[in-house]
C-alpha cells in the first residue's frame, strides 16, 4: 500500500520569492497545514492570493458575496494561532461556505431574492466551529435557491458553470461548493445534502463530498429546507481532506434538538471521525496486499437498471474491481423500494419546506413588495415576487400534501414508505454487507438549460442518493471515472455506510484514492 497523503514528501523551494501561495500548489490539506505550521507560507499570503483568484475567476456568479476585509481578518487570526503554536490541522486553510449557512459577516441569501440583503446576527454552528479551527473563508457560494434543485440553475443570482465544461451544470444544490473546489479556489467547502445535494455536485465536478449520519452535524444556522433530511457535509479534493473538515464540523450542539449526544456510545464530538478513520486505516495497513480483505460490498441491483448511462455503469464496475483487487468481496443485494424513494422524498421534503419557508413573508425581515393594499396582499406579493418558480412549486406541493383530506394519502403514506426504505437499507447493512456501493447519478452533468421544460427528469436523477437521506445514513461520493462525449466529465462512486460509519467510509474512499488518480483529474480550462 502506498504511503497516505499525510506523509507525502514535497521539497519546498527555500526562497520566499518562490513561496507557493496558491492552495492548489499543495496536494492536500495536510500538506498545506504543515507548510503553514512550519511558517513556510502564511495564512495571509494564501488568503490574499485566493481572493485574487476569486475576483479573477471564470464564473462571475460562483461567489454571492466576497468581502476581502473579512477574509483577511480571518487569515490574520489564523496566523496568530499559528504563531502561538496552537494551530490545529485546519488553521489557515482557505475554505468557503454554501450560502445556506448563515454568517454574521457575509450576507446570507440562500440564493434567493427574498434574502438578497440579509445579514444574520449570528453564525451557523458549522461556520463557527470551522472559524474557531482557524479556517479562512473566502465568502459565500452560490447554490440552488433554498437548496431546491440539482443544477444550480435555480439561483436567483445567475446559473453556474461546471469547471470541467462551462456549458454543463455543476450540479446542485451545493453546486457552488463543488465548483469552487474543482476550480482550485479553495481546499474545502461546506454543503448541505437533503436528497443528494452534496454527493451529486461532487460527482459532477469530480470532487469528494460526504453527507454524514443525520444528527451528527448541527443544523443550527443552516437555513432549513427539509428539516428531517437536511444534513451538512464538506466537499474537498480527496477523502483524506474531508476528514479534518467533517471532524471539525461534527459534534453535538445543544441548539439543535435533532443533534445527537452520542453515536453508538461514542461522544458525538470532534475527534470521533478522525479516530475511526485512523483506526480503519490501521486495519487496512495490516492486511498487506489485501488491505480490504473481509470487506463485503453490497451492490444493489436496482442501482443498475434502465436509465443508467453506460459510461457511468462502466466506471462503477471498474471501481468495484479496484476494491475487489484490494481484497473486498462483492455481494449482490436488493433495495426493492429504490424507485419509491422518489415520490416519498418529493412529498416529505416539500411538506417540510412549505412550513419552513412560511417565515419568508416580508413582515419581519427579507424582501417586502413596494406596493400593496393590505397585509394579506403584502405577504402574497412579497412571496410571489421574491421566491423563484421551483421554490413556489415545492411550497404549493407541500401545502397540498399537508392539507385536510390529503394528509393521510400523501404525507402519512410517504412517511410509511420512508420507514420501509430505511428498513431495506438496514436489513442489507445488518445482514448482507458492510457498505453499499453504486453510482451517485444516472449520468454525467447535463447541459445547462436542458431541463427547463422537464423538471421530472431532474427529480428522477436523485434516485440513487435519496435513500441515504430517507434512512439518515452516511454516504459519500468520490470521483471514479470520466464520461460524456469528450470523456471529460467526472463520474462519481457512491459509498453508503451504517449509521455513524463516516470514519470507515472515508478510510475506504482514501484507500481507493491511494490506488487511483481520478480525484487528481483537474478541469482542462482551470489547468
Amino acid at each position: 500500500m502506498p504511503p497516505p497523503p499525510t506523509t507525502v514528501c514535497f521539497s519546498f523551494p527555500p526562497s520566499l520569492n518562490d513561496t507557493m501561495t496558491q492552495p492548489t500548489d499543495y496536494p492536500s490539506i495536510a500538506a498545506l497545514g504543515k507548510a503553514l505550521r512550519d511558517r513556510r507560507v502564511s495564512a495571509l499570503e494564501l488568503a490574499t492570493d485566493a481572493l485574487q483568484a476569486v475576483h479573477n475567476g471564470p464564473d462571475p456568479h460562483l461567489f454571492l458575496h466576497v468581502d476581502d476585509a473579512l477574509t483577511l481578518a480571518q487569515a490574520r487570526a489564523a496566523d496568530a494561532l499559528l504563531a502561538q503554536g496552537k494551530a490545529g490541522p485546519l488553521a489557515g486553510i482557505p475554505i468557503a461556505h454554501k450560502d445556506l449557512f448563515v454568517t454574521r459577516g457575509w450576507r446570507t441569501t440562500a440564493a434567493s431574492r427574498m434574502l438578497a440583503d440579509y445579514v444574520s446576527p449570528f453564525d451557523a454552528t458549522v461556520v463557527e466551529r470551522l472559524e474557531q479551527a482557524g479556517t479562512v473563508s473566502l465568502g459565500k457560494l452560490s447554490c440552488d435557491e433554498f437548496a431546491m434543485g440539482s443544477g444550480n440553475e435555480n439561483s436567483a443570482f445567475g446559473a453556474l458553470q461546471n469547471p470541467h465544461d462551462p456549458d454543463r451544470v455543476p450540479g446542485g444544490s451545493s453546486g457552488g461548493s463543488a465548483a469552487a473546489v474543482a476550480a482550485g479556489l479553495v481546499l474545502g467547502t461546506t454543503g448541505t445534502d437533503s436528497g443528494g445535494s452534496v454527493r451529486q455536485p461532487a460527482a459532477y465536478c469530480g470532487v469528494s463530498g460526504i453527507k454524514p449520519t443525520y444528527g451528527t452535524v448541527s443544523r443550527y444556522g443552516v437555513i432549513a429546507y427539509a428539516s428531517s433530511l437536511d444534513q451538512a457535509g464538506p466537499l474537498a479534493r480527496s477523502a483524506a481532506d474531508l476528514v479534518p473538515l467533517l471532524d471539525t464540523m461534527s459534534g453535538f450542539d445543544i441548539q439543535d434538538s435533532t443533534s445527537l449526544e452520542t453515536c453508538n456510545g461514542v461522544a458525538n464530538a470532534p475527534g470521533r471521525i478522525t479516530a475511526a478513520y485512523d483506526h480503519c486505516r490501521g486495519l487496512f495497513g495490516s492486511g498487506g496486499g489485501q488491505p480490504l480483505a473481509g470487506l463485503r460490498i453490497g451492490v444493489p441491483r436496482e442501482f443498475f437498471g434502465a436509465g443508467l448511462a453506460t459510461a457511468v455503469a462502466d466506471a462503477i464496475e471498474a471501481a468495484l474491481r479496484v476494491f475487489e483487487s484490494l481484497g473486498a468481496r462483492r455481494v449482490d443485494i436488493s433495495l426493492p423500494l429504490t424507485r419509491l424513494a422518489i415520490p416519498a422524498y418529493y412529498v416529505i421534503a416539500p411538506a417540510e419546506a412549505s412550513s419552513n419557508l412560511a417565515r419568508f413573508d416580508g413582515v419581519h425581515f427579507g424582501y417586502r413588495t413596494p406596493q400593496y393594499q393590505d397585509l394579506p396582499d403584502m405577504i402574497r406579493r412579497s412571496r410571489s415576487e421574491a421566491l423563484g418558480p421551483e421554490v413556489r412549486k415545492r411550497i404549493l406541493v407541500g401545502t397540498y400534501v399537508l392539507s385536510h383530506g390529503y394528509y393521510d394519502a400523501y404525507y402519512l403514506q410517504a412517511q410509511r414508505v420512508r420507514r420501509m426504505v430505511a428498513n431495506d437499507y438496514r436489513q442489507a447493512l445488518d445482514q448482507a454487507c458492510d457498505v453499499i456501493m453504486g453510482p451517485v447519478t444516472p449520468n454525467v452533468a447535463r447541459r445547462r438549460g436542458d431541463h427547463d421544460h422537464d423538471p421530472i427528469a431532474d427529480w428522477l436523477g436523485d434516485i440513487y442518493t435519496l435513500g441515504a437521506n430517507l434512512a439518515g445514513l452516511p454516504a459519500l461520493s468520490i470521483p471514479c471515472g470520466l464520461g460524456g462525449p469528450a470523456k471529460h466529465l467526472p463520474i462519481g462512486l457512491q459509498i453508503i455506510g451504517r449509521h455513524f460509519d463516516e470514519g470507515r467510509l472515508l478510510a475506504l474512499a482514501d484507500c481507493f484514492q491511494q490506488h487511483t488518480d481520478w480525484h487528481q483529474h483537474t478541469p482542462r480550462h482551470v489547468a
Binding site: S257, T258, S355, R359, H364, F365, T399, H404, Y411
Partner: protein, 485 residues
C-alpha cells in the same frame, strides 16, 4: 320551552418558567417591546427550537395533580397559519399526542360537589402581540407594530369536557383550576397580564335533549366576571335566535366587556386548514418513569387532600376547609396558626382567618404572605380568647393594634399596655353589678314587668362601667342571681 346551557372551557395557563418554551429569552412581563425577543423568537433563518425542561416539568406536575395520564411520549406539531405576530407563521403545539390525557377537577358549588373531566392538556408556545392603537411608524404615520416579547412564552392549554351546565359552574371550575395552577406553582395566575386566559365553548339545548346544540367559542376571557357575563349573554343570544326561528352558526366570537355582548369574529366556513404535521425540529418528547416519579415525589400536598385533612383531622366544616384551601399560602397560614393553639381550636382560627384577617388583607390589598400579623402572632391572640384573658370583642381591638404594629405586634403586650385584660374577679364584678342595680331602679322594674330587653340593658350598663373588660358570662350569672333569677 326551558333551555340548558352546555359549556366546555379551554384555558391557556402561562407556565411560570424564567425563559421561553423554545428559546433562552426571558418571559418577564412588561419589558419594552421586542427587548425580550431572541433570534429564535423572531424566527430568523437558521434558528431552531430547544425544549424548555421546566415547562415540561410543570406540565407533568399538572397532569399528576388532576389524576391524568402523563404521556410517556408526546409529539410537537406545527400548526400552520399566517399571522404577523407569529413570526414562523406556524405555532409549535401538540396535536394528536398531548402530554396530559384525561384527569378531572372537583369543586364545591351551592353545597354540591361537582366533577368536571378534562379532555387533555398540551404544551404550546404563545404568539407575539400586534399593536394597532396609538402606534406610529418611523415617519409618524399611523401604523401597526409587533411586539414579540410574548412570542414563545410557554402555555399549557387545558381543555375540559363540555360538562358544565351554567355560567356559575363554569366560573367555579375556572376558579378552582386557577387556584390549582397557582397552588402547584406552575402559573402566576395573573389574569390582567394574561397569564390565565379562558375560551368558552357554549351551546344550548332543550332540557332533556341528549344531542348537543351547535356551539360558539368565545375567545380570550381574562376575568371570571367577564367569563360569567359572556356565557350568560351568549346563551341568551342563542336561545333568542332559536326561539325566533333562526339557527346557531358555529363560529368564534369575541366578548366586548364595554357593551356586554359577544360579536362574531370568524365563522366555521372561514376556518383555516392548519395543516398540522409533526415538527421535524423536535424529537418526540419522551418522559422517563423516573422523571415522572421524581416530580410526583416533589409535589406539594394538593388542595383536595388538604381540604379533606382539614375536615377529618381538624374538624372543620366543608365550606371552611374549601375556603382555606383556595390558596396554598392561606392554607399554610392557617396550619401555622393552628400549630400555636391548644388542640380542638382550629375552628376559632378558621373564623379569625376567614373573617378579621381576610377583611384586613382585602382592605389593604395585601397578599397573605405579606400579612403584618404573622400566623404565630394571631395564635397568640386567639390563645388569650380561649383562656378568657380577653373577650372576642376586645380581641378585635387588639387585632387592629397588632395590624398597625403596636407594641411590636404582640397580643399580650398590647393587652397589657392598653389594660384590656378581662376582669374575672367575681368580687370586682359583683361590686360593679351592685353599683349598676342601685343606679337604675326603673330598668329593674321593667325587667320584673317581663321585658327581656331590660336585662340586656343592665348587662350593657355593667360592661360600660367595666369599660368592656368584665367577663360577660360572669356578669350574666351575677345579674341573674341579684335579680332573683
Amino acid at each position: 320551552m326551558s333551555w340548558e346551557t352546555v359549556i366546555g372551557l379551554e384555558v391557556h395557563a402561562q407556565l411560570s418558567t424564567q425563559s421561553k418554551i423554545f428559546s433562552r429569552s426571558s418571559t418577564r412581563f412588561g419589558a419594552a417591546p421586542n427587548t425580550q425577543a431572541s433570534a429564535v423568537d423572531m424566527a430568523l433563518p437558521g434558528t431552531l427550537p430547544v425544549m424548555n425542561r421546566g415547562a415540561v416539568e410543570r406540565a407533568i406536575r399538572f397532569g399528576l395533580a388532576v389524576g391524568a395520564q402523563v404521556a410517556e411520549r408526546s409529539i410537537f406539531a406545527r400548526k400552520n397559519y399566517f399571522y404577523p405576530d407569529l413570526p414562523k407563521n406556524y405555532q409549535i403545539s401538540q396535536f394528536e399526542h398531548p402530554i396530559v390525557i384525561g384527569g378531572q377537577l372537583k369543586f364545591l358549588l351551592d353545597d354540591h360537589e361537582h366533577v368536571v373531566h378534562l379532555t387533555r392538556a398540551h404544551l404550546e408556545e404563545d404568539a407575539g402581540k400586534s399593536l394597532h392603537e396609538h402606534f406610529t411608524g418611523p415617519h409618524g404615520e399611523s401604523s401597526s407594530g409587533i411586539d414579540l416579547n410574548r412570542a414563545g412564552t410557554p402555555l399549557l392549554e387545558i381543555v375540559s369536557e363540555p360538562e358544565m351546565r351554567s355560567a356559575a359552574q363554569a366560573v367555579a371550575y375556572a376558579r378552582t383550576l386557577h387556584a390549582l395552577v397557582v397552588w402547584l406553582g406552575i402559573c402566576d395566575g395573573n389574569m390582567q397580564e394574561g397569564s390565565f386566559r379562558v375560551d368558552a365553548n357554549v351551546s344550548v339545548r332543550p332540557h332533556g335533549q341528549a344531542a348537543f346544540g351547535t356551539r360558539c367559542e368565545i375567545k380570550n376571557l381574562n376575568s371570571f366576571r367577564f367569563l360569567e357575563r359572556a356565557i350568560l349573554h351568549e346563551a341568551r343570544r342563542q336561545i333568542e335566535l332559536i326561539e325566533d326561528g333562526g339557527q346557531v352558526v358555529q363560529e368564534t366570537r369575541l366578548y366586548d366587556a364595554d357593551l356586554d355582548e359577544t360579536r362574531s369574529m370568524r365563522s366555521k366556513e372561514d376556518a383555516q386548514d392548519y395543516r398540522y404535521f409533526p415538527d421535524p425540529d423536535l424529537p418526540p418528547l419522551v418522559l422517563s418513569a423516573d422523571w415522572i416519579e421524581a416530580v410526583r415525589a416533589a409535589m406539594p400536598e394538593l388542595p383536595a387532600a388538604r381540604q379533606a385533612r382539614f375536615q377529618t383531622e381538624l374538624g372543620l366544616g366543608a365550606y371552611d376547609a374549601a375556603q382555606l384551601t383556595m390558596h396554598r399560602a392561606l392554607a399554610d397560614y392557617f396550619e401555622a396558626c393552628v400549630a400555636g393553639l391548644p388542640a380542638g381550636q382550629a375552628k376559632l382560627a378558621a373564623n379569625w382567618i376567614l373573617g378579621e384577617l381576610s377583611a384586613a388583607l382585602n382592605r389593604g390589598d395585601t397578599d397573605i404572605t405579606a400579612s403584618p400579623v404573622s400566623p404565630t402572632a394571631l395564635a397568640g391572640l386567639i390563645v388569650r380568647i380561649i383562656d378568657g384573658t380577653i373577650s372576642n370583642k376586645l380581641a378585635r381591638e387588639v387585632f387592629t393594634a397588632m395590624w398597625a404594629g403596636e407594641c411590636g405586634g404582640a397580643a399580650d403586650d398590647i393587652i397589657a399596655a392598653r389594660g384590656l385584660k378581662q376582669i374575672t374577679d367575681s368580687g370586682a364584678i359583683e361590686a360593679l353589678v351592685d353599683e349598676v342595680l342601685a343606679a337604675h331602679p326603673q330598668i329593674i322594674e321593667e325587667y320584673r314587668a317581663g321585658k327581656d330587653k331590660a336585662f340586656n340593658s343592665l348587662v350593657g350598663q355593667v360592661m360600660k362601667a367595666a369599660r368592656g373588660k368584665a367577663n360577660p358570662q360572669q356578669v350574666n350569672t351575677l345579674l341573674r342571681q341579684k335579680l332573683g333569677g
